[in-house]
Amino acid sequence: MPKRQQRIIMAKMGLDSHDNGLRIVSKWLADSGYEVIYAGVYNSAERILQMTIEEGADAIGLSFLGGEHLHYTGKLLEMLRTHDLGHVKFFAGGIIPPADVVALKDMGVDAVFTPGAQRREILSVIGKCLGVSEDSVHEK
């Protein structure tokens, strides 16, 4: 039986609405066969949690620019754990200083992508995390 299509929520949190990266990576994921649930900008942690439950998402991808990454990542990861959703994979990307990349990974973020990350790298890391080989994703 083929595995169900992997579902990934893509969002920005809080008030920052610089969504170039969010739009581009969402398209890359959709083009390579993921089911992207595009949550857009201005999300709260509560909203993304609810969406994760309702949509049965396999992963969450958050894009940051303004320095709010530690706050929202910490909050959402904690909420996921209290709702027994610790298995949901968690990716972050955007303008994130080097020290905070380490901090995010220590919190439990599966991968962090910073400016200049290339499509193949992003797709391959996410594919590995979700247990899909890149080829099977490309085949849809």
């Binding site: 609405s17 709260s44 080097p98």
Partner: protein, 543 residues
């Protein structure tokens, strides 16, 4: 790893570029000559101002060094402003945090984690007074980056600060940007419509312009931020066409209100991006000056030269900055700053090299100002008005860009104008197409970026000082706002807010600025004023 086409060193053939077209896709010829361009040019300061809006350009007066700045609390930002003025900044450009632009107070739950991060946290009359402490509002011009309805609240607070400094309103110098489409990002649709009804925001912006024209004769009432348009990934032609079409929409609406075009047009400005394709950018600014002048004169019947001036502030592009080898960004910003000066712009923000990581530090902001000072005082390019004028390439490119921009503007016009295009989702579509295309060009290295997709140095980690906010800044701002609301006389606040709410409910067609200013004077906060109008229109916002 990705397959990146690297420049192959072939010593028999030499190092070669991947292609010869501009960022906007215009093919550069091998050489330009009289066969390409053989016309006469008007003097600088003469219609249609191809060569600059002033006869003497920088010989008469240098451009304003105006770095967008602000972070954390008004106290901290006031210190930063004074530092920047001390090292040679000559104008102020206040960027509030996002809550301030969206009409939210620091204590609003969805705003709390963003307080003070991307600009100054501002919501009360006191905040404005503190931000401009020791800064005379009649001697230093300030640009305030707020869309309506925040623009009205902030203007009211600025008036109160002027009053406290003993400065009459007619002496205020500066700009309220006041555009509801371009002050955040894009104009992407969701970002600009989620926190306030867009039609009402536009209406309030126009009300403010009408209000300000007689009371603040030296103040600029509108600025179209074409930089935000460009930074979403569109090319120079789209940037120019979108922003000029939007500018035309505003002029049209103000004329339809019965305002004589010469009463307000001179007080509209633009804020553009400067990218790295040097000659295309120079041509873009020259073409924009020409188009704006012709629009104002031929379509709107302006008589006064000043109404036809395309006055332009710029900020060097952030999109071209790389996180890899961040020091390379110093070179990019310097070239872009030079490009801006060769284009004859009126004020410049040189983007700091650390902005691919964080807000700029004091040291990198100082370097940005020094970059401008070196160009101003050491290179000699400022000693001639329009130094590139008459060059076959520059004039050919100017003509070519002008033609393409007009063509796109006509298309936008056919679709009902830029504002209609925004509301109908056409702009959103264009922006997304442009972003995907740009991402492709970066992936394929069709757009070479040194250190990123060309000459990438995988081993080198960036060494860079990271700007840090005070750890308790957000908590302090939230607490301050709560206490401010608790400790004031509530009666006049409630009365003014109710009055405003009623006005929007029952007479939204009438001026809304006066009742908003009354609420500000009664010490209502930014969000309280905006909420009164949201309530009146049953508009709910993200939580």
């Amino acid at each position: 790893m990705a397959e990146i086409p690297k420049i192959e060193f072939n010593h028999s053939e030499g190092e070669q570029l991947p292609h010869f077209h501009s960022i906007s896709g215009i093919e550069y010829k091998r050489i330009y000559s009289r066969e390409d361009w053989d016309k006469q040019l008007p003097d600088a300061g003469e219609y249609p101002f191809t060569r600059g809006i002033h006869k003497d350009m920088y010989r008469g007066r240098l451009w304003t060094r105006r770095q967008q700045s602000g972070f954390g609390s008004p106290e901290e930002s006031n210190e930063l402003l004074k530092f920047l003025l001390k090292v040679g900044q000559t104008g102020i450009n206040i960027d509030s945090d996002i809550a301030g632009k969206l009409g939210l107070d620091p204590d609003y739950p969805l705003a709390q984690a963003d307080v003070g991060l991307q600009g100054t946290s501002m919501c009360t009359n006191e905040d404005m007074a503190v931000l401009f402490r020791d800064i005379p509002l009649d001697r230093i011009s300030s640009t305030l980056i707020f869309p309506p309805p925040s623009s009205v609240v902030m203007m009211g607070q600025y008036f109160l600060t002027a009053k406290a400094q003993g400065i009459p309103l007619e002496d205020l110098i500066g700009t309220m940007m006041n555009c509801p489409f371009t002050q955040l990002v894009g104009p992407t649709f969701q970002a600009n419509t989620a926190f306030f009804p867009i039609d009402l925001a536009l209406k309030i912006g126009l009300d403010l312009i009408e209000y300000l024209i007689p009371v603040t004769p030296k103040w600029n009432v509108l600025n179209v931020n074409s930089r935000n348009i460009r930074e979403s990934g569109v090319d120079a032609i789209q940037e120019a066409a979108f922003s000029l079409a939007l500018g035309a929409d505003y002029v049209d609406r103000l004329c339809k209100r019965g305002l004589p075009v010469d009463s307000f047009a001179r007080r509209i400005g633009f804020f553009s991006a400067v990218h790295l394709d040097l000659f295309e950018e120079v041509a873009k600014f020259r073409a924009m000056r020409r188009i704006w002048a012709r629009l104002l004169k031929e379509r709107f019947g302006a008589q006064d030269d000043k109404s036809m001036w395309f006055r332009c502030a710029v900020q060097t592009s952030s999109l071209t900055l790389t996180a890899q080898e961040p020091m390379n960004n110093i070179v990019r910003a310097a070239i872009q700053t030079l490009t801006a000066i060769l284009s004859g712009v009126q004020s410049v923000h040189t983007t700091s090299y650390d902005e691919a990581y964080c807000l700029p530090t004091e040291a990198t902001q100082k370097l940005a100002i020094r970059t401008q000072q070196i160009i101003a005082y050491e290179t000699g390019v400022t000693k001639i008005a329009d130094p590139l004028g008459g060059a076959y390439l520059v004039e050919t490119m100017t003509d070519e860009l002008e033609e393409r921009i007009w063509e796109m503007m006509k298309d936008i016009e056919k679709r009902g104008g830029f504002i209609e295009c925004f509301k109908a989702g056409w702009v959103e579509n264009e922006l997304n197409k442009a972003r995907y295309k740009l991402a492709e060009q970066m992936e394929s290295a069709e757009l070479p970026i040194v250190g990123m997709n060309f000459f990438k140095d995988d081993g080198a980690a960036a060494e860079i000082d990271i700007f840090k906010q005070a750890p308790d800044m957000q908590a302090r701002r939230i607490e301050y706002t709560i206490n401010y609301k608790k400790n004031r006389d509530q009666k006049p606040v409630s009365r003014a807010l109710k009055n405003l709410c009623d006005r929007v409910k029952n007479h939204a067609d009438k001026d809304l600025v006066a009742p908003m200013l009354e609420a500000v004077e009664a010490r209502a906060t930014l969000q309280e004023v905006c909420d009164a109008m949201r309530e009146a229109t049953d508009f709910s916002i993200p939580r």
